[in-house]
Symmetry: C2
Subunit: 333 residues, 2 copies
DNA sequence: GATTTAATTGAAAACGTTTTCAATTTGCTG
DNA sequence: CAGCAAATTGAAAACGTTTTCAATTAAATC
C-alpha cells in the first residue's frame, strides 16, 4: 500500500554501478567518468529517482534547513525580514522552518530545542528580550545562530541591525531643531534591549545635546499595537508633548489616527516620526515620516551571514550595521 | 571537534537496557515497567539526551514537518493564514517549512519537489493559479495536500475557503440597492480562479438579479498592489463608476487614497468595499468596509484538516467553507 | 505449585543515504 | 611495453532511530 519509493539502490542496480557512484553523480562529484555519469543520469531520469533528504541528512549530518524564530509573522516588520531570509536561503539551497514565538521566552526555549532536535544547520533569531534561561540554551549548542533585527548586549552572536541609537538620536534632534521642546518617546516594552537600551539612549543623547532635561513623563512604554496607539492622545496632550518619536509603525498609525480623531492636526499641531518604514507609512493619511531600515536586507544579510557561519567561512564583523535613513513624508514639518 | 552527541545507544548502555526500551520510554509507549521507565528517564536526564529527529524520521518515515507554500508572507492576508497554520501545527507537534512562491508556477513546482524530498508529512498550499505542470506534480504524490484560501476547480483536494461567489454577490447587491447602477469590479489577475471564476461570478449574479447589464468596461484587472490602486481613479471616473468592489485590501487602500487625492469623497461620491478585512482596513481613513473572512481560522482549519489527512482519519467534507460577513465601516454609505 | 496468559524486554533488521578506504582501470612516460 | 601516477569505482561501515518478533519474566488461575 505504501508509495513504492525508488531508492539509490534501485538506481545502482539498474545502471549496474555501485551506490557510491550514484551518490557521486547525484552530488555532482567530479570523480566520475562522463560515460558513467550519463548512464546513471539516464537511469535516474527513467526511474524518476528522488533522493531522500532525510536519509541524506542522517548520513551527512547536514539538513540544508535552518530554523527561524520570529515573534509574529503577522507583523509586517518581521514578515519583511522573513522574506529576505527565505529568499537568500533558497538562493543557497536551504529551506526555513518558521516558528512564531510571540516573544515569549518559554516558547522560544521550547522551539529552539525542537529545531535543534531536527538538526537544523543554523538558526536565525528575532527577539529582543532574552532571559537567562534562553541565553543558556543558546550557549549550549554549537549550531550557528545569527540575530536579525535584534541586538545582543553580550556581543556573543553574529547579528545584523541598524544603529538604533544613532538613528533615533538624529531624528529626535531634528524634531528638537524644528522647535519641539517636548518630544515624547513612545516605544514597545522597555525590557527589550532594543528599546530600553538602544533607542532610549539615542533619545536621551539628543535631549542632552540640546540641553533639554530628560523627563520620564514623556516616555510611554506600550505594547506596540495599533489599538494602544489610538488611545494615547489624551496622555500625550496631558504632558504637553508636541511631537513623538515612535518605535513601531502600527503603533504610530494608531497615535496619528487618535490625534486626527481628536482634531489635533498632524503635523501642524503634533509631529510624528516612526521607525520601521513599512508599507503602512504610505497608506495612512497623512503619510508618516519614518526612519528607514532596509528590512528585507536585514533578513537577507542575516541569512547570508548564517551561510558563512555554517560553511565555516571567516566572517569579518559579527555586528553588522546596515545603513538607516529618513524618509520625510507628511507627519513631520 | 564535533559536538559529541549522546545517542540512544549511550542511554541504553548507561541504563543497562536495550535501545528498544529507551525508544519506548522516549515515545511514551505504555509497555514498559514503571521502574524501568524511571531508570531510563533518569539516565536521559543525567546525560541530557535529545533524540535526533532526522534519524527518527528515517526509521519511522514521519518527519512531523509540513510544507507550506505561500505566495508572499509579506502580504498580510497570507501572513494571517500562515500564523493560523503554525499555531495549530505546533499544537499537534508539527513544524512548518515556509516557502514563498510569488504565485509563480515554476517556483511552486520546484519548491514542491524539495518539500517532498524532505519527506514532509503534508503540504498546505496557497495560490490560485495552477497550471497543468503543477497540477501534475500535485497528482504524483501521495502526501496529503490541503489548499488554504485557495480554490480547486477540479474538486480534487481538501481545501478551506469562504463562499466567494455568495460573499461578493451579497455585497454588490447592497451597493446596487443603495443606488449604485455602475459598480466597478476591481480585482487581481483573472487567471486566478478565485477572481476569474468565483468572485466575478458573484458580481455578475448580483448584476443580473438587479437587471443591470454586465459591462466589461467596469471590470479592472490589476496586480493587487497599493500602487496600482492609487492610479486607478481617472479610469474609474471615466467609466462613471460610483462604487467599487475590490478584491484586495492594499489595492482598495490605494484606490481610496487615489480618490481622496483627487478630491472625490469616499463614501459620498464613491463607495468602496474590500475583501480581506486585514488590520489595514482599520488604519486607513476613512476606514474601509470589508467582507470579513476568518483569515487566521482559514489557516488553522486547513492545518487541522491536514492533521486528519496525515493520520488517516476520516474527513466528512473536502470543501470546507467558513462563514463570511460584512464589516460596515466608513467607506460605504 | 503447575499451567496458562499477559506484560516486559532485547536482538537485530530495517530506513536510504554518505563516506572512507582499498581495489581496479586508465593514461602517461620513457 | 614496463612502471607509475592519476582517475574511477565498489564494498561496507557508518548515521541514530523505530519496529518486528521472539524470548523472557511476571501475574493469574485452579
Amino acid at each position: 500500500m505504501d508509495k513504492q519509493t525508488i531508492t539509490i539502490y534501485d538506481v545502482a542496480r539498474e545502471a549496474s554501478v555501485s551506490m557510491a557512484t550514484v551518490s557521486r553523480v547525484v552530488n555532482g562529484n567530479a570523480n566520475v567518468k562522463p560515460a558513467t555519469r550519463k548512464k546513471v543520469l539516464d537511469v535516474i531520469e527513467k526511474l524518476d529517482y528522488r533522493p531522500n533528504a532525510v536519509a541524506r541528512g542522517l548520513a551527512s549530518k547536514k539538513t540544508t534547513t535552518v530554523g527561524v524564530i520570529v515573534p509574529d509573522v503577522t507583523n509586517m516588520y518581521f514578515a519583511s525580514l522573513a522574506r529576505g531570509i527565505d529568499d537568500v536561503a533558497t538562493m543557497y539551497k536551504y529551506n526555513i522552518i518558521l516558528t512564531n514565538s510571540d516573544s515569549n521566552n518559554e516558547k522560544e526555549v521550547k522551539v529552539l530545542n525542537t529545531l535543534l532536535s531536527k538538526q537544523v544547520d543554523g538558526i536565525i533569531f528575532m527577539g529582543n528580550e532574552i532571559d537567562d534561561k534562553l541565553r543558556e540554551e543558546f550557549k549550549r549548542t554549537k549550531t550557528p545562530i545569527v540575530f536579525a533585527g535584534s541586538v545582543d548586549e553580550e556581543n556573543l552572536y553574529a547579528r545584523v541591525n541598524i544603529d538604533y541609537v544613532a538613528a533615533v538620536q538624529v531624528e529626535v534632534k531634528n524634531l528638537i531643531d524644528r522647535g519641539n521642546r517636548r518630544v515624547a518617546f513612545v516605544c514597545g516594552p522597555l525590557e527589550q534591549a532594543i528599546n530600553g537600551k538602544f533607542r532610549l539612549k539615542g533619545y536621551k543623547q539628543a535631549l542632552k545635546s540640546a540641553g533639554i532635561p530628560y523627563d520620564e513623563k514623556l516616555v510611554f512604554e506600550t505594547d506596540d499595537t495599533y489599538k494602544t496607539g489610538t488611545l494615547l492622545q489624551p496622555a500625550l496632550m496631558a504632558v504637553n508633548a508636541t511631537a513623538a518619536m515612535v518605535t513601531d509603525d502600527e503603533l504610530a498609525a494608531g497615535i496619528m489616527n487618535g490625534m486626527s480623531d481628536a482634531d489635533v492636526k498632524v503635523p501642524d499641531d503634533f509631529e510624528i516620526i516612526t521607525s520601521n518604514d513599512t508599507k503602512l507609512t504610505e497608506m495612512v493619511r497623512p503619510k508618516m515620516s519614518s526612519i528607514t531600515q532596509p528590512l528585507y536586507d536585514i533578513g537577507a544579510v542575516a541569512m547570508r551571514l548564517l551561510t558563512k557561519l555554517m560553511h565555516n567561512e571567516p566572517v569579518d564583523e559579527k555586528n553588522v550595521l546596515l545603513p538607516y535613513g529618513l524618509m520625510k513624508r507628511e507627519s513631520t514639518k
